[in-house]
């Protein structure tokens, strides 16, 4: 499905569907809104129709992920879209309602022999506790297994956004190989791209609330928006957000064209995480005391920003990887990156 229409229209639809799901009463049961999300075919967006998907591209996936985050909604949508797209390519047909969760299995080991078996523990897996299926990238193999497979144990946890943040233990758990090294890379890059989109969306949400607050709140007989130092904070957020959105759109182009994907994903993640850091600090500072209450909506965005910066590979690990790519490539390669940034959008 192509997501037509403006950002405002998309926000309207997402707001209608996801109202009230920002704070999960119990983070370890399927969110009530999931049924509606499934009815709308959103988990199938970005997957070709020939592979059981709803069509559309990674651009539509990112637009939807950003919009969901702008509503501060909690649903395992991007995770499921990504994992489903990868198993779908292997012609594995899973029910449309399934929650499918990607797992970065760098810390896991594979034993071949009696089928393919997985051992080890991964901490900090988002949404594993409500997963129907897991898709695990280990070295050069992408594996798929139902979450209730013998030997899979999921210990529920939460992050500061009160979203599932679970530990998954594999003890000789049997899995099916559904992809190669490229699929594992697609899993990692896709997860980070989704994370960058979520960060940008949530940061936009926090910035919007802040603009509304400083325009309405009066001190010293005038709105906060009349004070230059307050306006400087608003300008900082707007500028950083513009930059992060640009980096995100460049990464989307890279994913569409299948070029420099790791590089462009890393740039988008670094930019989004950096923007998130600035928006966190500034939006809370400009909200004053009201912003630190549970009652005010700001925390719906800022708790997600705190939780998300390091969720799909840490910001530091991505920046380290960018540095490694630059060190290996040398100045001419860095210049090639520079001069080819953005031109996908022309």
């Amino acid at each position: 499905m192509r997501l037509d229409g403006s950002r405002e229209m998309l926000d309207g639809v997402v707001a209608d569907v996801l109202t009230g799901v920002d704070d999960l009463e119990d983070p370890h049961v399927v969110p009530p809104a999931w049924a509606t999300v499934v009815e709308l075919d959103w988990p199938l967006v970005g997957i070709p129709e020939g592979f059981g998907g709803a069509g559309g591209t990674v651009a539509d996936v990112v637009a939807l992920t950003e919009a969901v985050a702008r509503q501060a909604a909690s649903v395992p949508l991007h995770e499921t879209q990504l994992a489903r797209s990868l198993v779908g390519m292997a012609a594995v047909d899973l029910p449309a309602s399934a929650v499918i969760i990607p797992v970065d299995g760098r810390a896991l080991t594979i034993t071949a022999g009696d089928g393919t078996r997985v051992d080890g523990e991964v901490t900090g897996v988002g949404w594993a506790s409500i997963a129907d299926h897991l898709v695990v990238g280990i070295d050069d193999q992408l594996l798929w297994l139902p979450a209730d497979t013998a030997g899979v144990q999921i210990e529920p946890g939460v992050d500061v956004a009160n979203e599932p943040f679970d530990t998954v233990t594999f003890s000789s758990a049997q899995a099916q190989v559904v992809g190669d090294r490229r699929a594992v890379e697609a899993l990692r890059n896709g997860a980070a791209l989704g994370r960058a989109a979520g960060l940008v969306g949530a940061a936009q949400g926090a910035a919007k609330l802040t603009i509304e607050h400083v325009a309405a709140r009066e001190q010293f007989g005038r709105p906060l928006a009349k004070f230059q130092l307050v306006r400087a904070g608003i300008a900082d957020m707007a500028a950083e957000l513009e930059l992060a959105r640009g980096a995100l759109s460049d990464a989307v182009d890279a994913h569409l064209d299948d070029r420099d994907m790791e590089l462009r994903t890393g740039v988008a993640l670094s930019s989004a995480a950096r923007t998130a850091t600035l928006v966190l600090r500034t939006s809370h500072q400009l909200h004053g005391a009201i912003g630190v209450t549970r009652e005010h909506a700001l925390h719906r965005f800022t708790r997600r920003l705190w939780a998300w910066r390091d969720r799909a590979g840490s910001q530091r690990s991505w920046e380290g990887r960018l540095g490694e790519l630059a060190a290996n490539g040398g100045p001419d390669e860095v210049w090639r990156w520079f001069t080819s940034t953005g031109d996908g959008a022309a």
Partner: protein
């Protein structure tokens, strides 16, 4: 200029190859340095660029331009900046004075100046700021009064880079002092060889001479050298500044230092996160530069984006020099062909980045106004 200019990736790649070849032919004649678009001056190099069709590249061919896109101009300028090539002789005229003449000038004025700027033959300095009109540019007091069909200009301009080497000046002057300060301003071209022009050097903190104070004492300016509307100067100059802001020189003034960092990282494998962080910033800024050039090619005036790219770009240039100092643990030395010399050059130039072309604070004001309209 609302026509959308088509430019294929192949055409742009070919242009990039041409610029690089031209630069390579000159490498033994210049020392690469930070901030070369303001400090590296070689008229011969500018003329060679003009000869090769690299100046006025976006202007129509009938005025000596290249008839190409703003993306083509980005290709040319970023290659020149990467090389640290001596481009100061033509930079201001190519970037903003030529375009102002093209937008606002009469057909005669365009014919008189644009072909010569595009050839690298006519050099310009920018006489905008005054002692009491820095960020508050509309406060300029330099007066222009009518003298028959011509004008007489009297006043003092400051921070005029390369005035001592320029044949012409762009001058923002007051032609009517009776109304609000934003009204009654007019843009002129002035011959720097005229009677009554005095150029006094101002040495910058590096000990270099590029700044000047320029005094005009009843300088005669022909009536045909008014750019655009008499009294319409404020609107015109605001637009000119928007164009000035959104280019690659706001990101790449200290780029040579980044290349050194990348080489060191390749050798030592240290500090990769810090290098990666700079790379991410750099590439994000290029996305904006490209997006601004594309918007201009589509006939838009991306004023907000240009303000953002200058504010973030110049901050990045400063961050880059400071990060290099910290990571390399190098004591900066005066300009020399070494890492410490490049670093010293970059650090000593860096205070100017957030001032010229609209201070970081003024840009913040512009950006905030977009978010919080009055």
């Amino acid at each position: 200029m609302s026509q959308i200019r088509q430019e294929s990736p192949e055409q742009l790649a070919q242009l990039r190859t041409q610029v690089r070849a031209l630069i390579d032919g000159w490498r033994d004649r210049f020392t690469p340095r930070a901030d070369a678009w303001l400090r590296g001056y070689d008229r011969g190099f500018s003329q060679a660029l003009g000869e090769a069709g690299m100046l006025g590249i976006t202007w129509p061919e009938e005025v000596g331009g290249g008839g190409r896109s703003n993306r083509a101009r980005l290709v040319v300028t970023e290659e020149l900046l990467r090389a640290g090539a001596p481009v100061a002789a033509h930079w201001i005229a190519d970037r903003q004075i030529g375009p102002a003449i093209l937008r606002e000038g009469t057909p005669e004025l365009r014919q008189e100046f644009l072909p010569r700027i595009a050839a690298g033959d006519a050099t310009f300095c920018l006489c905008m700021s005054e002692t009491e009109a820095g960020s508050d540019l509309a406060a300029v007091r330099t007066r222009a009064v009518r003298d028959g069909d011509d004008w007489r200009i009297t006043g003092t301009k400051i921070w005029t880079s390369q005035a001592h080497r320029s044949e012409y000046a762009y001058v923002l002057a007051r032609t009517d002092a009776s109304g609000p300060k934003h009204e009654g301003l007019t843009e002129f071209i002035l011959d720097m060889g005229s009677d009554g022009v005095e150029v006094r050097p101002i040495i910058d903190l590096q000990g270099e001479h590029h700044f000047n104070e320029v005094v005009f004492d009843d300088v005669l300016v022909p009536g045909r050298w008014v750019i655009g509307e008499v009294g319409g100067g404020w609107t015109q100059v605001t637009e000119q500044l928007a164009f000035e802001r959104g280019g690659a020189e706001r990101v790449l003034s200290t780029y040579l230092v980044l290349e050194e960092l990348v080489k060191v990282a390749g050798r030592d494998g240290r500090d990769l996160e810090a290098v990666g962080r700079l790379i991410a910033r750099l590439l994000s800024l290029r996305q904006m530069l490209w997006s601004i050039a594309s918007a201009m090619d589509a006939g838009d005036a991306p004023i907000r984006q240009a303000a953002i790219v200058k504010r973030l770009g110049t901050t990045f240039e400063q961050e880059l020099a400071e990060t290099a100092r910290y990571l390399l643990g190098t004591v900066p030395t005066p300009l020399a062909t070494s890492v410490s010399g490049l670093l010293g050059d970059a650090l000593l130039a860096s205070p100017g980045f957030g001032i010229r072309g609209g201070t970081t604070e003024i840009l913040g004001t512009i950006i905030a106004r977009e978010e919080l309209p009055a």
